[in-house]
């Protein structure tokens, strides 16, 4: 199935396998009385790249935040790389070690230099020697094309640079999955491309990715599945070409017409 879905993606990007990495089954979540996630069923295969879109308040961010337990789900089952998320703190931390996350507002640590931001988790969570951690960090800083900023503080960088640092910071933990929560929404228009380029580069390495974004060009280039969510439900999912050419539901059509005509 994954092979079939992959036709729209660029040549260089490797195909997904049929090994499930993340499984959500009948996941429900409420904020007080408000039902944010309604019976979400989703299986993400190793190496698969999924783009999630939908109007604001549709639960897309909440869904990916449940995958590393920044939000707690109240019903259903979430299994990440064979570990089920429960109240067990050990298991939560085990999952978080393997799942990288990039946020809309970067969430870099402003009191640490770029290099210290990158080496912190490898040193304290992976117990890596400082020297090795710095070596790894420099490799990833080169990959996101800002090795010269290593000794600066996040507050001295542009938004695009900060987001690239945030991506490198996640990669330093050598994660199995990367979650992106609207990574370009807080950026000035001229900085969006540099971040998307890094993400495309990441996709080419075969990383499993779930990306909440409205960058439909990115979805076309990289995704092997696009998911549309509305009011807490997955309304439609398809490979990008079909999804954009022949949206099935009325709500998807309405949403696409709104974001593509601007």
């Amino acid at each position: 199935m994954a092979q079939a879905l992959n036709q729209g993606a660029a040549q260089a990007i490797p195909a997904a396998s049929d090994q499930p990495m993340i499984q959500l089954s009948a996941v429900n979540k409420w904020y007080g009385q408000f039902h944010v996630l309604k019976d979400i069923d989703l299986t993400v295969y190793t190496g698969e790249r999924i783009v999630v879109c939908g109007p604001s308040g549709s639960g897309k961010s909440t869904m990916i935040r449940c995958i590393n337990r920044l939000e707690e789900h109240q019903k259903g089952k979430i299994v990440v790389d064979g570990v089920e998320l429960t109240h067990d703190l050990k298991k939560i931390e085990q999952v978080r070690r393997e799942v990288g996350m990039v946020f809309q507002h970067f969430n870099l640590f402003p009191h640490l230099t770029v290099l210290e931001n990158l080496t912190l988790a490898p040193i304290w969570v992976r117990k890596m020697p400082k020297k090795d951690a710095e070596e790894v960090a420099m490799t990833y800083l080169k990959r996101v094309k800002i090795p010269e900023q290593a000794s600066k503080y996040p507050g001295q960088l542009s938004g695009g640079q900060q987001q690239r640092v945030a991506i490198a910071r996640s990669l330093c933990m050598n994660p199995k999955v990367m979650l992106f929560d609207e990574p370009t929404s807080a950026l000035d228009p001229e900085m969006i491309k540099e971040v998307l380029d890094v993400m495309i580069g990441l996709a080419e390495t075969g990383m499993t990715m779930i990306c909440v974004t409205h960058e439909m060009g990115f979805a076309r280039t990289v995704a092997n599945r696009v998911i549309f969510m509305d009011r807490g439900e997955i309304i439609e999912q398809n490979d990008p070409e079909e999804f954009f050419k022949n949206p099935k539901s009325e709500r998807t059509k309405l949403f696409l017409s709104q974001i593509l005509h601007h």
């Binding site: 920044l70 085990q94 969430n107 640590f109 009191h111 304290w124 969570v125 507050g155 001295q156 996640s170």
Partner: protein, 393 residues
């Protein structure tokens, strides 16, 4: 003025002639800069401001010259030579009668007592050693030029307290000097020093507890903070002194100084907790999420990410608490301890020194001011140093 406006017009013309995109950056008009510019901006910007400036200068003229005359020019600085027919006597207030100003020989004669209290005279070298180590370690910890901060901190917070206690109290070969003999500046330093060193970590724990998701921990911390904050320090000192023995099994003696230290520390910790909580609340939720998403545990997250930032935000409040704690230690006089202020007061009530109360208070004020001002300056320096927004380290 004419020159300046001509200057400005010239600049405008210059800009007008240039193609867009090629205009150079010009210096600001000269009236805005220099000493005259500063005076105009700050002291004479409007006629109300000008009147206030003149009034302030007049008030300073009324206060400063008489004070200087009293404190410096007309003061007695040394014991005058014995007049003929007067019997030799220890220095006393009568020796100052010749001058209209302050009688500083009071401070000179009583200084050892002001510093050491009633500490056994022959053993005072032990206190000096503690003072010396304290001064050197504080300098070492705060100075940027001195490296090996980790070793210094371990020495200062783990070894020095034990060493200082041994030196001050005695035992193991040293003569024991009971704590009831401790007093003066030394006691003030002990009270405020221990209060400062223990109230901050205790306050941090209380603040974290108050924000905890665990209901029991949360409730305990809230009750503790709100109870202590709702009661004046004097009450706590009385309670520590009078009530604590009721709760202890009979026969267990609790040193007065220890009781007071406990009271002062707990009092300061409750206030510290609220200041730290303010710092914690100022941090965006994203900092917690960023840390958690990378698999950091609660204590790692707090120690490496949250507290360094929250405490930096809270520096002004924390130092404010340190300063008021230092000054609040004067309240221990109420339970019979002779701290710096109390011993100076007692000194000026000595029959030989009746009439030197003002000198005593001015001296006290100066010493407290030097210490508190130093703390305040250091905190400002620290704030600038830890600011990582837009400048290179």
């Amino acid at each position: 003025m004419a020159d300046i406006s001509a200057d400005t017009t010239a600049n405008n013309n210059l800009n007008a002639q240039m193609e867009p995109g090629l205009r150079p950056s010009l210096p600001p008009p000269t009236l805005e800069t220099g000493a005259v510019g500063w005076l105009r901006h700050n002291l004479f910007s409007s006629w109300v401001n000008a009147i206030l400036t003149v009034l302030a200068l007049y008030i300073l003229y009324l206060i400063i010259p008489p004070f200087l005359a009293w404190a410096v020019f007309d003061a007695t600085w040394t014991v005058p030579p014995l007049a003929a027919g007067v019997e030799d006597h220890p220095p006393q207030f009568a020796d100052c009668r010749a001058n209209a100003g302050a009688c500083w020989i009071f401070v000179e004669a009583r200084l050892p007592q002001f510093v050491y209290g009633f500490y056994t005279a022959e053993q005072r070298w032990r206190v000096d050693i503690v003072f010396l180590i304290l001064a050197v370690s504080i300098f070492g910890l705060l100075s940027e030029r001195i490296k090996r901060k980790k070793e210094l901190a371990i020495f200062f917070f783990a070894i020095f307290p034990i060493l200082a206690f041994w030196l001050l109290y005695g035992g193991l070969g040293l003569e024991v000097v009971e704590t009831r003999l401790w007093g003066g500046f030394m006691l003030t330093l002990i009270l405020s020093g221990i209060g400062i060193v223990f109230s901050l970590p205790l306050g941090v724990l209380l603040a974290l507890g108050r924000r905890s998701d665990l209901p029991v921990v949360h409730m305990l911390c809230v009750v503790m903070i709100e109870f202590v904050r709702g009661v004046p320090l004097i009450t706590i000192l009385f309670m520590a002194n009078v009530m604590l023995p009721f709760f202890l099994p009979p026969g267990v003696e609790f040193n007065v100084l220890l009781r007071v230290l406990l009271g002062v520390t707990i009092f300061a910790a409750a206030y510290m907790a609220e200041v730290v909580r303010g710092g914690l609340q100022a941090l965006p939720k994203g900092q917690y999420e960023g840390a958690m998403a990378m698999g950091l545990g609660y204590w790692q997250m707090m120690r490496l990410i949250i507290l360094p930032q929250a405490l930096r935000i809270a520096i002004p409040g924390i130092v404010n608490n340190f300063i008021s704690l230092t000054q609040d230690t004067t309240l221990v006089a109420i339970v019979g301890l002779y701290d710096f202020l109390n011993i100076v007061r007692a000194g000026s009530r000595d029959t030989n020194w009746l009439g030197t109360e003002i000198e005593g208070y001015v001296f006290c004020a100066l010493v407290y001011w030097i210490f508190c001002f130093a703390m305040s300056r250091y905190s400002m320096h620290l704030e600038r140093k830890l600011h990582t927004g837009h400048k290179k380290r």
